[in-house]
């Protein structure tokens, strides 16, 4: 690669001017002239765009803005991107980071392709892939101008639209003459798009809106009715889809450092077929759900389905990080100091969020994640805690064990509670060998822990669903007392779901309805029309944390991810939204009513890919941001109770268990 030192021409005054004036075209003329005199001899700046930005981390605040230029020198075209000096929005981004990302005069001879990404909502960006397989991090055009950029490139090098991917432009691709010819047929369209003059606008923000608007039409071409629908949607003053689009404008472009690495990694792995990985990703999704096909398939359905305002697939590609392998023993050791304390609990939780935990580590990690053991405890302290708690467990257990059969006859409440537990234990996960077969001792452990819990928390007692929640915990802990205390910790989070007044469930269902309204207004309207806004269809999902919907090992994976509370305590609600959105086409297309919808949702059991769903949920959670949190009333489970606050707001009612 040619290393030409280009002076950083953007001083602070320049940047300030760009911020104030915002008009991309003005900037181009004005500073273009000025700077060209400073370029190396014989070099001509043919394109310049300010406020082109990269996002090294997932946080919107951590971005590096800079100036993108195309420079022509003796018939070769170069691209540079130089960050503004001293403009890092965050102290954590050092000068070193900025240098790391600086693109210094890359000759287009080294560029293989440019992928254009013009999402319906959010900023446009491009990814430049080099012949080596390396890719630069996505460059976000805050002021628009991707088309102009491509048009300029095309004036100087051979740029062909890929025959396979409409948004991929191949640079100097002479390898396949046939493909080239075929691709050329599409060129007029590309050109006509690129020469649309940008409307002169005064504010930077409205410039990006303007671009967003045109992109909508672009993305939805060939379907006038949908386009009209879209326009109508966007014109509504208080349209939540519009609100979220504004939110997205602020946040969509958060490309993480990780994403950057992953992007390059993808391209490294299969340099000859770089983008097919993206495509494979989405075909995986459609394999899970045949309803997630392109729009022309949806048209075959009896009812036109309003477009998803967020386009989940694209959103997940841009936001949801690829899942990592589960945390293993060696890596776990790196989180501990010599005495067994977790040094950085936040980093640990983040790691688990993205990959879960290997099964053999679960016992140790779950105790900490659930809060039964403290992050700060040493090995010795944990052992001490175990021993103390075991004694304590035996004391509570003894309370019911000492009830004689005679006593039991006069103790209706105990009999009923015990009966209910016995009834549920024998129908809990019997298909799993751990609980299978007659006379399985693990069934007795389930029974003992549940009955002991009903004495530990007599007001809450036993409630159907608890055996499902305990089952994986006992499976992991393989110990009565340890399971009991982990279950106690889990019920600190989920207990309100079982309250007699169901307040925990109702606040979550309410929050879910608000989140769907925020993240998918057409789907919300559909549920409203079908009188399904109570979201009882999702009751089981929430009460059992998807335990009945997933394979056993997937349940454990999801739970440990949820327990990290990384990003949100309420990720499970975004999981609900992700699933509903994934099947929105089918739900609306088939005009499901409350009963068919409930059946459909219940029968998704066993057909959910948790990794894909978690990526979707993460993407939705991030893009909903503050607005999402605002949908969730304070104290909604599984929020941990405030200190000194209530644990379980149960009513005492003698007529029921």
């Amino acid at each position: 690669m040619q290393e030409t030192e280009i002076h950083d021409l953007s001083d602070d005054a320049d940047y300030a001017a760009s911020q104030q004036q915002g008009s991309a075209s003005m900037m181009r003329c004005e500073s273009g002239k000025r700077s060209s005199s400073n370029e190396p001899e014989g070099a001509e700046v043919v394109y310049m765009k300010d406020n082109v930005t990269i996002h090294p981390t997932q946080f919107a605040s951590e971005r590096i803005s800079g100036r993108l230029k195309l420079i022509k020198q003796s018939s070769s075209l170069f691209m540079t991107w130089i960050p503004y000096k001293g403009q890092s929005t965050n102290a954590r981004l050092s000068e070193k980071d900025m240098n790391l990302y600086t693109i210094r005069a890359v000759p287009f001879a080294d560029v293989r392709s440019i992928r254009r990404h013009t999402p319906a909502f959010g900023w446009q960006y491009i990814i430049v892939v080099l012949s080596s397989g390396l890719a630069f991090p996505p460059l976000y055009f805050y002021n628009g101008g991707v088309r102009e950029f491509l048009a300029t490139v095309k004036q100087h090098v051979v740029l062909l639209r890929s025959a396979e991917h409409a948004n991929v432009f191949l640079v100097n691709d002479f390898q396949n003459p046939l493909q080239r010819t075929l691709s050329s047929l599409e060129l007029p369209r590309a050109v006509s798009l690129s020469i649309v003059p940008s409307t002169p606008v005064s504010g930077g923000e409205s410039a990006s809106q303007e671009n967003g608007e045109r992109t909508d039409v672009d993305v939805l071409d060939g379907s006038p009715s949908i386009r009209q629908f879209y326009r109508r949607e966007r014109q509504k003053v208080h349209d939540p889809a519009r609100d979220i689009s504004m939110q997205l404008l602020e946040k969509f472009s958060l490309v993480t450092k990780f994403a950057r690495e992953a992007t390059s990694q993808l391209f490294w792995e299969t340099p000859s077929n770089a983008f097919s990985l993206f495509e494979r990703g989405s075909s995986n999704l459609s394999a899970i759900d045949s309803s997630q096909k392109p729009r022309d398939d949806v048209l075959e359905l009896p009812v036109p389905v309003p477009p998803d305002p967020l386009e989940l697939d694209k959103l997940s590609l841009a936001w949801g990080k690829p899942r990592q392998p589960p945390l293993g023993l060696e890596e776990w050791a790196t989180f501990l100091d010599s005495e067994g304390r977790v040094v950085d609990s936040k980093a640990l939780r983040k790691r688990i969020f993205y990959g879960g935990v290997e099964h053999k580590l679960r016992k140790e990690v779950w105790e900490v994640l659930l809060g039964y053991q403290s992050y700060e405890s040493t090995y010795a302290e944990k052992e001490y805690q175990r021993s103390n708690r075991k004694t304590e467990y035996e004391i509570i257990k003894n309370q019911w064990q000492s009830i004689s059969p005679e006593q039991e006859k006069r103790f209706t409440k105990f009999r009923e509670r015990k009966g209910l537990i016995e009834k549920d234990v024998v129908r809990t996960d019997r298909s799993i060998s751990f609980y299978g077969g007659d006379g399985n001792a693990n069934l007795s452990f389930l029974h003992n822990v549940l009955l002991t819990y009903s004495f530990y928390n007599f007001d809450l007692g036993y409630c159907q669903g608890m055996s499902d929640l305990l089952s994986p915990i006992l499976f992991v802990m393989e110990d009565e007392s340890e399971s009991f205390w982990c279950f106690v910790a889990l019920m600190e989070r989920l207990g309100p779901n079982f309250n007699r007044d169901q307040n925990g469930m109702h606040s979550q269902l309410f929050a879910l309805s608000k989140l769907v309204e925020l993240l998918d207004a057409p789907l919300h309207n559909y549920f409203k029309q079908k009188d399904c806004l109570n979201y009882f269809i999702c009751f089981r999902w929430i009460l059992l944390q998807f335990k009945r919907e997933l394979e056993y090992d997937q349940t454990m994976r999801l739970w440990e991810v949820l327990w990290t509370h990384h990003f949100s305590e309420h990720l499970h609600l975004y999981v609900c939204v992700a699933l509903l959105k994934r099947y929105r086409g089918k739900i609306i297309g088939e005009q499901m009513e409350f009963d068919t919808l409930l059946k459909f949702i219940n029968e998704l059991s066993g057909h959910i890919d948790i990794d894909v769903t978690l990526r979707d949920a993460e993407a939705l959670c991030l893009c909903a941001g503050e607005n999402g949190s605002a949908c969730i009333p304070p104290g909604t489970p599984p929020s941990l109770p405030r200190e000194g606050g209530f644990l379980f707001n149960s009513e005492l009612d003698d007529t029921v268990l």
């Binding site: 499902d468 079982f498 169901q502 009882f536 009945r548 268990l657």
Partner: protein, 176 residues
């Protein structure tokens, strides 16, 4: 067209009878939230689809009933002949259902009562007499009563036929 729609009858099953769903729904897990299964029933040379709704048994989940009972054509109250409390609760279940489902004519809404588990211990552990339950049924507008054994399948078909008949009772005449 009307008669097509009528072919589907929504039936709600309520009560503390334990294993009623084992036979009826073939599922071995406690119902959480609600679920339903469909059963084809022939009645007077016509084929009907019963949509049989099973909701969470525990009473603290009753607030969900509002949504799940809506549009019901018949409500089946089940109790365990071996457990007095399950019989005592019939009244609660019936009233709760009428509140939650709020049918247009609560006085004449079709109920059917099933006394379940008559097979247990050869009938020796039975604590609710047939006389007692029939008296209660009579006092509530002559609710039809069946004794069944879901485990043995005893009387289940007869019960379903009656359920179908009753579910149809409230349908307007024009559908025939």
């Amino acid at each position: 067209m009307a008669s097509c729609r009528r072919m589907l009858l929504k039936v709600i099953i309520l009560g503390n009878s334990g294993y009623v769903n084992r036979k009826f729904s073939n599922q071995y897990k406690a119902t959480i939230g609600a679920d339903f299964l469909t059963k084809e029933v022939q009645y007077e040379d016509r084929l009907f689809t019963l949509q049989i709704w099973d909701t969470a048994g525990q009473e603290r989940f009753q607030s969900l009933g509002v949504a799940f009972y809506r549009g019901a054509d018949c409500c089946v109250l089940v109790y365990d002949v071996n457990v007095m409390k399950s019989f005592d609760n019939l009244n609660n279940w019936r009233e709760e259902f009428l509140i939650q489902a709020s049918p247009s004519d609560p006085e004449n809404f079709p109920f059917v009562v099933l006394g379940n588990k008559v097979d247990v211990d050869g009938g020796n552990s039975r604590v609710v007499s047939e006389k007692k339950v029939k008296a209660w049924c009579a006092s509530k507008g002559n609710i039809p009563y069946f004794e069944t054994s879901a485990k043995e399948g005893f009387n289940v078909d007869a019960a379903f036929e009656c359920i179908t008949k009753n579910a149809l009772k409230n349908e307007p005449e024009e559908e025939m």
